[in-house]
């Protein structure tokens, strides 16, 4: 009996101390959504914690899941690469604003072909993803890449299995360059892919492509750099061959008229310009205008303000295009209007 008593006291003491320790931790500012913005948002969260000791806890679950969590009020903010429609924003009392832009790259894993060697254009890409081009040594690919030794391996198409803003932007581009794609598949965060198989998250896609010989997929540029994977050049709308780089992404974003668009709803795929990267995307952050927890909401806004003002370097290092200063000012002004008093 003595042993049991000692054990019970010990357990109670341990439980009490753990609970007390827990009570001293402040509530996190939670967010979820786009994996596109995940690398830079995580870096910002780290810097923000170092600067202010506030925790921003972001889960990269995909744009679709992020908005779902926001609507279920299980997170404070959502991040999505597919801008929400005016109607949806209105109906749920939400406001959205852009945080960053960047490039989506076509990544491949082909024996003997180095990163940056291959060139695609809209036609060949839609052909591959429609299942019409099935081998790497197809004539159309050879024509675009006369100097590359393409093996006759079958092409394994890998796509995002989860609801993804990256999918949305990629299929948006494909819809713009291929009427057949637009009709057969369309553009959304999740579509009925004619061929291929899925992996979860940008992380899953990158890992899968790295492991699967002859595979092709689409993913944010930062993931390709982090995993040292093959990436392609693209022939853009102006017919010029461009590399995925900060300046080609910036060229795509520069065409965007952020201030003019209602709810900052601007798509930057397949833009004009000689130096423009054709598959560019932006990420929007979405918050409740009249939240249940005003303090947490304000905490989130403070974080994004910090990101606008101090986060440029982190963004550029990871090859994202930060929102231009003038636009950031307009966004922060809109906060005074949209969100409840500080």
């Amino acid at each position: 009996m003595n042993l049991i008593r000692k054990f019970a006291v010990g357990a109670a003491a341990a439980a009490l101390s753990i609970t007390l320790a827990g009570a001293s931790f402040a509530a996190d500012i939670t967010g979820a959504g786009s994996s596109f913005i995940n690398p830079v948002l995580s870096k910002w969260a780290e810097g923000y914690k170092a600067a202010t000791s506030n925790t921003v806890n972001y889960q990269s679950v995909g744009s679709g899941a992020g908005i779902k969590q926001l609507l279920a009020k299980t997170v404070v903010f959502g991040a999505t690469d597919k801008p929400m429609s005016d109607g949806d924003l209105e109906k749920n009392g939400l406001a959205q604003f852009p945080m960053i832009s960047g490039g989506i790259v076509v990544t491949y894993n082909i024996d003997g072909v180095k990163p940056g060697e291959l060139v695609f254009d809209g036609e060949t890409l839609s052909g591959i993803f429609l299942g019409k081009i099935t081998k790497w040594d197809d004539a159309a690919l050879k024509k675009l890449n006369p100097d590359v030794k393409l093996p006759s391996t079958p092409i394994s198409v890998v796509y995002r299995a989860d609801g993804s803003g990256t999918t949305f932007n990629f299929t948006n581009y494909l819809s713009k360059v291929s009427p057949e794609w637009k009709e057969k598949v369309g553009s959304d965060t999740a579509v009925q892919w004619p061929v291929g198989f899925g992996a979860k998250g940008s992380e899953g896609v990158s890992t899968t492509v790295a492991q699967t010989a002859g595979s092709i997929s689409y993913v944010e540029y930062s993931y390709v750099v982090a995993n040292k994977m093959g990436f392609s050049k693209m022939k853009n709308a102006a017919g010029k061959i461009v590399e995925p780089k900060l300046d080609t992404f910036a060229a795509a974003a520069s065409n965007a008229d952020w201030k003019g668009a209602k709810n900052f709803n601007v798509m930057i795929t397949n833009q004009a310009g000689d130096n423009t990267w054709p598959i560019a995307a932006s990420t929007w952050v979405v918050l409740y205008k009249q939240p249940t927890d005003k303090a947490l909401n304000q905490g989130a806004l403070d974080f994004f303000k910090w990101a606008y003002e101090k986060g440029q370097k982190d963004a550029t290092t990871l090859n994202y295009v930060a929102v231009p200063e003038a636009v950031a000012k307009v966004v922060m002004e809109s906060w005074n209007k949209d969100f409840a008093a500080k």
């Binding site: 899941a65 299995a161 009925q192 010989a213």
Partner: protein, 323 residues
């Protein structure tokens, strides 16, 4: 003890009152235990109730045709159970086909052939294998088995079995390494120690007399195993196999990493596919509305399926320590 020296003292003790306190304490303890036992039953009922309630929207939309619907497509909001259920059944079946003979072999080795000194270590090693968390099987499967499959084993299968008529349909590209066959292999390795332990325990219940007499008659070890051990323990064996099957049906993490996540119904077992548990694990986090309800409906199906298998196993194996 009551005797002449303390009889007077003893009479001052109120026996009735003590008995009443004891009865009260006993009653409290009794109810505590009863409540605990009832709680277990309640939990199962609660699980069933919650699953059924959350699955209702799916059956309202599709009726019973959900059970034989062959299309599962989140973008077009069409959900049918067949792809996931087929994946679960096929992967479990293949896993059993591989694991059961191996388990019997190992059990026979442990009970008949193994030198006494090695018996304990090898037996313990098998049981340790059973304790390894399933996610470990998943990541080892992903990083070790999948490349092996993609680069060597699957191309070999496509070139050989894939060319045979009829069966060949099951072995067609695309074969990027993840798929039903890979998942079956990982599952087989996972349930191997489980079935081995049960089989060995069941073999050990055979009376030594029976064994000795058989050897005495001049039967070879294999003949003893085939004609004595297995028939004698037949019920227990089948029960053990069914338990392994139940385990395989519900296994999630080991399978999710290596099965791909394709909900298309296809003939090839070497192409990426899905199972019920993998489908739930992969898409539950972002599902809502009809998709969420359909996933829970799938979960309910899995629950009922494993319930049936387990009930069958219990009926065969009775109540023995080895469960």
């Amino acid at each position: 003890m009551v005797d002449a020296t303390n009889a007077a003292e003893f009479s001052r003790v109120d026996v009735a009152a003590i008995t009443k306190t004891f009865k009260l304490q006993d009653r409290i303890f009794f109810f505590m235990t009863l409540a605990s036992a009832a709680l277990v039953v309640l939990m199962l009922l609660a699980i069933l109730v919650v699953l059924v309630i959350d699955a209702i929207p799916t059956f309202q939309t599709y009726g019973l045709s959900f059970l034989w619907g062959t299309v599962w497509s989140a973008p077009t909001e069409k959900f049918g159970a067949v792809p996931a259920v087929m994946g679960t059944l096929i992967s479990s079946l293949i896993a059993m086909l591989i694991a059961v003979p191996l388990s019997f072999g190992i059990a026979i080795f442990l009970t008949e052939l193994c030198p006494g000194s090695l018996r304990r270590p090898i037996g313990t090693a098998i049981e340790l294998l059973a304790g390894v968390p399933s996610i470990i099987y998943g990541i080892v499967g992903l990083f070790v088995l999948v490349p092996l499959m993609q680069l060597y084993i699957l191309p070999f299968l496509i070139a050989t079995v894939g060319q045979v008529p009829v069966i060949g349909y099951l072995f067609q590209p695309p074969a990027p390494g993840v798929g039903l066959l890979t998942a079956s292999l990982v599952l087989a390795i996972m349930i191997l120690p489980f079935i081995t332990a049960i089989t060995r325990d069941v073999f050990l219940t055979v009376p030594p007399m029976l064994r000795e007499s058989a050897y005495g008659m001049g039967m070879t070890t294999w003949e003893v195993a085939r004609n004595i051990l297995i028939p004698y323990t037949r019920r227990g064996l089948v029960g053990g196999v069914m338990l392994g099957l139940g385990r395989a049906l519900g296994e999630t993490m080991a399978v999710t990493f290596v099965v791909g996540s394709v909900t298309r119904l296809q003939a090839s077992i070497i192409s990426p596919s899905t199972t019920i548990s993998a489908q739930i694990a992969n898409t539950f986090g972002e599902a809502d509305g009809l998709q969420l309800s359909s996933l829970i409906a799938l979960g309910l199906l899995l629950f009922i399926l494993s319930f049936c298998v387990l009930a069958l196993a219990k009926w065969m194996i009775g109540r023995s320590d080895t469960l």
